[in-house]
Amino acid sequence: MSRNLEFELNGKACRRDVEPNTLLKDMLRLDLGMTGTKETCGEGICGACTVLVNGMPVRSCLVLAMQVGNHSVETIEGIGNAQNLHPLQQAFLEHGAFQCGWCTPGMIMTAKALLAANPDPSEAEIRDAIRGNLCRCTGYVKIVEAIQAAAATARGSNPLAQSQ
C-alpha cells in the first residue's frame, strides 16, 4: 500500500506516493527519472549511489524512500548543469578526474559534503572521505587533484579559477 512522502529535492518541495519497499535510489531513478544517481553493488559498499540527505552522504541503495520524509535530498542533478557547473564538476572536467564516469556522481556528492565540512582538506583527509567511493578506472590520482583544485577555487586561492 503506497504512502504519501513529502521531502525537499534539490531545493524544491517534492511529494510522491511510494511503496514502503521502494529504495531511495529507485524512487530517484525509476520514479523521478533522475538517472544521475547510479548503482553498482546494491549493498552499500561501492558508493555509486551516494546522494546527500540533510547535507550528509548516504547510500541511496540502502535507504528506504520512506525515511527521507521531511528531510532534504540533494542529487548530482541539483548541484549544477551544463550552463552552470558546480566548482567540483568544473574541476573534474579540467583535471580528467573520470574515465567511464559511473562512479563520478557519487564521488562528487561525497566530495561536496567533504568540502562543506572541511574547506581545506589534506590529501589524506580527501582519500579518507572518498574511501567508500570505489573507482575501477582512474586509480584516484586525478580525483584527488580535482577535489584539491575545487577546494582551492572555493577558497578563492585557485589561479586557474582566477584566470577565467
Partner: protein
Amino acid sequence: METIAIGKNIQREEGIGKVTGSGKFAMDLEMPRMLWAKIKRSTRPHAKLVRVDTSKAKALAGVHAVIVDTDCPQTLFGFGCYDEPLLARTKVRYIGEPVVAVAAESEAIAEEACDLIEIEYEDLPAVFDVHEAFRSDPPTIIHEEQAGYRRVPIGPEQYNPEHPNAFGYYRIRSGDVTVGFEQADSVVESTYTNAMIAHAPMERHNSVSLWDGDGNVTVWSSSQAAYCLLNQISEALDLPHSKIRVIIPKYVGGGFGGKIEMKSEGLCAVLSKAAGHRPIKIEYTQEESLCWAGVQHPFEIKLKTGVKKDGAIVSCEMFVLVNGGAYAQHGFLVTRQASYGPLGSYRFPNFKLDNYVVYTNQPPGVAYRGFGNTQIHWALESHMDELAHAIGMDPVAIRLKNVLVEGEINTAGETQHSVAGEELIREITTAIGWGSDFVRKDGPWRRGRGLAIANKDSIAPSASTAFVKIHNDETVEIRHSAGNMGQGSSTTFIQLAAEALQVDPARVRTAQIDTWVTPYDQLSGSSRLTFAGGNAVLMACDDVKLQVFKLAAPVLEADAGDLELADMKVFVKGEPERFVRVKDLFRTPYFTGSFLPTGGELLGKATFYVSASKVDPETGKCGDDGLRRIFSFCTRAAQAVEIAVNIETGQVRLERIAIANDVGRAINPMSCEGQMHAALTMGLGGALYEELQLDSGAIRNADLESYRFPTAKDAPPNAGVSTHIVEIPQPDGPFQAKGFCEATIAPTAPAIGNAIFDAIGVRMTHMPMTAERILAAIDAKNDAAKAR
C-alpha cells in the same frame, strides 16, 4: 610544430554528461512497454538436465514469457570456436549457466518467477583443476562433440583427441632450446599461477533487446564492440546482419574486455519475440556481472630459461595451461595472443612454447585487459628477476641486456617498430631512484624496490572504418563504431579530425554508435582504437577534404589539387584571400533547408586495414615476406615500485610507483596519464587483492565486499606516483600515435613481487599476493632456514 589539437589536454567530449549525471548509460534507458528479464541459472557444475518445469513460472501474474533452449534457434555461437547455446541444451557445464529466461513486468516478478522454476539435474563427474581436465583420460569430457565444432582456423590444429578437453593450442618454435640450455651458464625453472579474477566494471552488464513485428532486432547495450555483438546475434539467432541493429550509448561504464562478446542481448531478443515484441531489459546482478559475464583466465605457466654469465638469455622453454572454463568464448585467441607476450619484450635465440587452453566446469574465461599478457608478464618478469639473482646481476641490467631495440627482428620474425625498451626502463629507474639508499627497516615493515616491463601486441589483421561528415553549419561529425568505455576514444578521434581539418575541436563531435549509421569497427579492444580507428578517421578526413575541394574548385576557378582547408575556409594555396567558406558551398532554396549541388553530402568514408604476415602454424613465426608483421603494433610499459611488507602480518603497502608507457605520440597527455593510473586499481588489485574464490565450481565471494579491489586509501599519495609518457613514433600511426592501455596494468604485479623479494627474500609465485599467502611464505622461508 604548433598543433591545434594534437598533444593538447582537450576536455572529454562526454565530460559534461558524466560530471552532471545527465549522460544516459544503457542502464539508464527506459522504454515504453518495457519488460524485465531474469535468467534462471544452473546450480550444478556438470549435469544432465532431466526435467525443467516452467509451468508455475508461466502461470505467475505479470510474467509474459518463459523460454528454454527449445524455444530458441538451435544454433551454437562463439568467438571463433562455436560451442555455446543461448540456453543450456541437454546438459549444463558450469554453475551459473543460463537454463531458463523469464520476461515479466518488474524485476521482482521476474525474480519470483525464477524461484518457481523447478529443475532436476543428474550430476555428471565434474572437473575444475586444469591438470585433471587436460589428461588424456580426464574424469569427464565436457564437450563431447568438440571434434565437430565449427571453428575459425588461427594456427595449429586446435582440437587434439589426446587431450579431449583442450580446445585451443598454440606453439612457437625457434632455434633449438636443448642446445641452448647446454650453452647456458645458469638455468632456472619456475612455475607461476594466477587466480581467476573479474572485470568488475562499475556499470554492470545490461541491455535492452527488441524483436519487432517486422522481424528486425534492435539492441541497446553497455558494450564495447558493436559489430562483434551484431555478428554474434546474427549467428545465434540465425538472422542476416541487415535485420539487426546495435546501438551503444555514448556513456558506457567500463568494459575492460568483459563487454566484447554477446551476453544476453540475443537471448533477450528471443524473449522479446515470445513476449509479444516488447522491449526486454536485463540488468545483471552484481553476482552475475562478477562471475558469469566472463572472467579472466587462470594460467599456469612453467618456464625454464638459460642465461649466460653476462645476462644474455640463450634458451627459454615455456609450457602454459589455461583454465578456459566451460565454454570457449575468447579462450583460444587468448592462448594465441599470450604466447607472443615474451617475444615482444626480449630477444630469445632459442625458444619453445606450448600453450593449451582447456575446458573445465568453471565459469568461462573471456578477454580481460591484456588478453593473457597480464598473466604471462606476471610469470616472465618475476622469472627475469630470478635469472638475475641466479647470476648475481642487477635486475635492471639483465633487462637492458635482453630488451629488444628499434628495428630488431624478434624471435617470431616480426620487425619491431616504435620500440621503447631501454627508454622506459631508464624513466622508471631514474624516477624511483634505483640503486640509491633507502630505509629498509621500519618496525615490522621491510621495504623493497622492484621493477617489471611488459608489452602488448595489438591484433592484426585489423579493420576500422569511419565516416566524417561536414554539416552545413560547418560542424564535423565522426561516425565510428569504436566503443568509448571510459578510455576516451571519442575525444581522441575528435582531436585527430580537428587537426586534419584544421578546426576547433569544440566544433567536432562523434555520433552515437548505431550500426545503421556508424560503419564497421572490429572492436574496442586490443588497445587498437587510437591506431586503427584513428587512422580510419584521418583517412575519412582526407576523403571529405577531396569532396570539399571538388565542390570548391569551380567556385574559386582553381584546380582541386591547389586547394587547402582550414577553419572551414577553402582557399588557394599561397593565396589565402581567395577563399570560399564551406557553408557557402551549400545552396539554400527558399525555406526547405540546404543541399549540396553535387554528391549529396560532405561525407568522407574510409577503411583502414592492417594485414598480417602468414604465420607458420608449426613455428608461430612469420617469414621474410617484406612485411614481417604479425600484429598491428606493439606497446610497451615499465613500472618500478617501492613497497613495504609487514613481516608479522604479510600486508603490503605500495608507497611509490613510477609508471612509464610508450604511446607513440600523446594525442591527449592528460588522458594518457589517466590510463596509466589504472596500475593503481586493476594492476594493484590483481597483484594483492583480487580473486574469485572457487569451491567445486561455485564462487564464494561474488560481491564487492569480498571481491576486493583498491580503494582511495590503498593507492599511494599522489606525491608517490609518477607517470612517464615516452614518445617514440609509431611510423604508421595517426600522427605517429598508437594505443597502450592494456600494457598499463601488466607490470604492476611482477614489480611488486620483485620488490617483495628485494625486501624479504621471499618469491611469490601466485597472484594475488594476499597478506595471508605472504605470511605463509615468510613462515616457510623461516622454517627452511631453521631446518638447515
